[in-house]
């Protein structure tokens, strides 16, 4: 039956291909007719494609262990002062997979890091260059990405904004190579390593000052804690329970749902029956959207039971819509609405450079920017990019950035401002409370 059927099948295949192309074309047309025109491909790809030959190590400081070859590259063709072999700043981030949604702002901010540090004279007179590596929200890929940054790109420092799982997979490589690793994402806390600093918000910072404030503000005291089932929500709730009880409140329910949960009907019923008058949802991404949109119809929306969230960010809140979100409070170390002259100028420049509809600058990209500035300041103070010397200079370092006043603590974490934003009826975020220089409740002496 084979040979006689062939021409027919082949022509069918062609028809199929044409139909598919038509379908894709139709879908593309629909997408462009929508209010969001196709976004230009991330700067990440450009940066990744940038020449970074393995046999051209970035070396400079005498203390570093790598062999020095004749520096082949010339300085970037800008008239600014820094010159010589660039200082290489690696950025390990999630640009695909579930957390890929946070990738674009970080890729954008990498441009600002180069521009701003170079405009300020670079690091020890040398320009900086950023190298981006995507972990695809997968620890195994993250480990390879870290390897690429260290071995192929020859970076002097790695700034990370990705999951804790990727951090645990990638950390040994940085430790073995003696490369400084500044983890800048909000996380559960407890990290301590000779090559690491952790500048993201930890639960003690997001919650200790904000939980009593929330209870005062709303008059509620009976909390329901609902989180995805992994280490960060569990650690957050463990601490939240202490702060709630210390403030005279009680926890009337604590539930965990698997990541990727789509049906919240039973959970909604438990919350409704618990008598809770406050909800602390530590849900990420699609789970948050599913819970909040379903909760409204079960009569336990924000109007009925106020929310204090510690991760709900603009894209997720935007999909829920103001009808669902108006009144919710979110506690984080940065919002683009933070009102100080430096931040206002920074945010205006961001949207001017990347377009008014660019994925907004947010806490993850802000912490990467701050980490780069901290690194530059420490390396300048140390006069070298040697890991041990920069690490010593980082401890106790204070800076003023668009985020506010920040300083590295003795526990290698970051004392930083914590902001509470309230979602307005038009969906915008308004900073309703700020707590300056909140100390993390961490201990570390590597």
């Amino acid at each position: 039956m084979g040979s006689t059927l062939k021409p027919r099948t082949r022509s069918r295949f062609r028809t199929a291909a044409i139909m598919m192309a038509l379908l894709l074309g139709m879908a593309a047309a629909c997408a462009t007719s929508d209010d969001e025109p196709a976004v230009a491909e991330p700067a990440a790809t450009e940066a990744e494609a940038a020449p970074a030959p393995a046999d051209e190590p970035a070396d400079d400081s005498d203390a570093a262990p790598e062999p020095t070859e004749a520096p082949a590259t010339t300085a970037p063709d800008e008239p600014a002062e820094p010159s010589g072999e660039p200082v290489r700043i690696g950025i390990l981030f999630s640009n695909s997979g579930p957390a890929g949604i946070f990738g674009q702002p970080t890729a954008n901010i990498a441009e600002f890091i180069e521009e701003d540090i170079n405009a300020a004279g670079g690091i020890n007179g040398r320009p900086v260059e950023t190298f981006l590596a995507d972990d695809a929200t997968d620890p195994a890929v993250g480990r390879q990405a870290m390897e690429q940054l260290i071995e192929s790109d020859g970076v002097d420092v790695v700034l990370g904004t990705h999951s804790s799982a990727t951090r645990e997979a990638a950390k040994p490589l940085a430790e073995d190579a003696g490369v400084l690793y500044i983890y800048a994402a909000l996380y559960e806390g407890g990290e301590c390593s000779p090559v690491m600093f952790n500048t993201g918000e930890v639960p003690s910072q997001q919650l200790a000052p904000v939980i009593p404030w929330m209870m005062d503000e709303t008059g509620g005291s009976k909390w329901f804690l609902l989180g995805n089932d992994y280490v960060w929500p569990r650690r957050s709730f463990e601490l939240a329970r202490q702060y709630i009880e210390a403030a005279g409140g009680e926890v009337v329910g604590e539930e965990y749902v698997p990541l990727g949960t789509q049906d919240f009907s039973s959970v909604a019923q438990q919350i409704a029956g618990s008598g809770a008058d406050l909800i602390f949802p530590a849900l990420v991404g699609g789970d948050a959207i599913a819970f909040e949109t379903q909760a409204v119809d079960f009569g336990i929306g924000q109007d009925a039971i106020p929310r204090l969230a510690n991760i709900y960010e603009e894209n997720v809140l935007g999909v829920m819509g103001p009808a669902v979100t108006a009144g919710m409070r979110v506690t984080l170390g940065y919002f683009k609405e933070v009102d100080n002259p430096a931040n206002n100028a920074f945010v205006a420049r961001y949207f001017e450079q990347f377009g008014a509809d660019a994925p907004p600058h947010m806490t993850f990209s802000s912490h990467i920017y701050d980490a780069a500035l901290l690194y530059a300041a420490a390396a300048n103070a140390a006069g070298t990019t040697d890991t041990a010397a920069v690490a010593a200079a980082l401890e106790g370092l204070s800076l003023s950035t668009p985020t506010g006043d920040i300083s590295i603590t003795g526990s290698r974490h970051l004392a930083q401002p914590i902001y509470v934003a309230e979602i307005q009826s038009d969906g915008s975020q308004l900073i309703v409370q700020s707590f300056p220089a909140v100390e993390p409740d961490e201990t570390c002496s590597p």
């Binding site: 196709a38 997979g97 089932d229 539930e255 789509q262 019923q269 699609g286 599913a290 949109t293």
Partner: protein
């Protein structure tokens, strides 16, 4: 009493969702014996059809037939362009449809970006019935899902078309030789399977987030339902969805959602052990 009624309604809406999501897989995997790892992506694309419909200011209800048409065309193209060439070799089908699922996710990401999208609930609020308040949209979802599932299953078990498909599944060469137009029938069956997945996607769109990765969450549930319900009986989709929904709702009620997921997977292992499923030659 009210709590029990609510839990029954929750279970019913979970059953309806599982049944309509698994229906297409029941046809493609259960009946035709094709392991389709891109089934979740069909559901995801159905949800995007709902989003595009909403973004163009059209009624949400219009997105259900639209999603069926779009996914039927897409499914039929995939059958002709890909599945037809490899369906006799299950190990190749697994790899090819896995690759296809990645391609579909990336294509959607290129068109719509990674951002979460949403569709507003067309009938917000709750309705009082059986002495309890229950979200109106879930009543609608249960109704539409049950109708789609029953009509599709009737078409496959009671019509001449269904007989043709089952004849091909039993012995393709013999059917070919007897004058059955095997190409068209398979093309339609796969297309219908994809179309029901599209309807499922558009139907659940107002209840959650729409994103390129969303399909990944539907695939295990759909396979679970087909495995529990039995491969070679199409009506097994209903039985499977009923059992899985009952187990999940029950365990969530008495323990929590994490144990519910473990219980559902344990159930699948148990059913596979009890059943000793034949890999080839499934009949309706």
């Amino acid at each position: 009493m009210d709590a029990l009624t609510l839990e029954l309604l929750n279970g019913l809406s979970l059953f309806a969702t599982l049944a309509i999501v698994a229906l297409g897989l029941g046809i493609v995997f259960g009946l035709m014996g094709i392991i389709n790892l891109a089934h979740g992506e069909f559901v995801m694309i159905g949800a995007y059809v709902a989003y595009v419909t909403h973004a163009n200011g059209l009624s949400h209800w219009l997105s259900l037939p639209l999603a069926a048409v779009v996914l039927f065309v897409l499914g039929a193209c995939i059958e002709v362009g890909l599945i037809r060439r490899i369906h006799r070799r299950p190990e190749v089908t697994i790899l090819a449809t896995f690759g296809l699922s990645i391609c579909l996710r990336q294509a959607v990401e290129l068109i719509f970006t990674k951002d979460f999208r949403g569709v507003p609930n067309p009938v917000p609020g709750a309705t009082r019935a059986f002495g309890v308040l229950f979200p109106t949209y879930r009543y609608v979802l249960i109704g539409i899902a049950v109708v789609v599932v029953v009509v599709t299953l009737l078409a496959f078990t009671r019509s001449r078309f269904g007989l043709t498909v089952r004849a091909i599944v039993a012995d393709r060469d013999l059917a070919d030789a007897s004058g059955v137009r095997t190409g068209i029938a398979y093309f339609c069956a796969f297309g219908i399977g994809a179309a029901t997945a599209g309807i499922a996607g558009a139907l659940v769109a107002p209840l959650g987030a729409i994103e390129p990765q969303a399909g990944l969450a539907y695939l295990p549930g759909a396979f679970l339902v087909v495995i529990v319900g039995g491969f070679n009986r199409l009506w097994g989709v209903i039985a499977g969805a009923l059992v899985v929904a009952a187990v999940q709702t029950g365990v969530i009620h008495f323990y929590d959602a994490v144990w519910a997921q473990i219980a559902a997977l344990a159930l699948a292992v148990l059913m596979l052990q009890l059943r000793r499923v034949p890999v080839e030659g499934a009949t309706a």
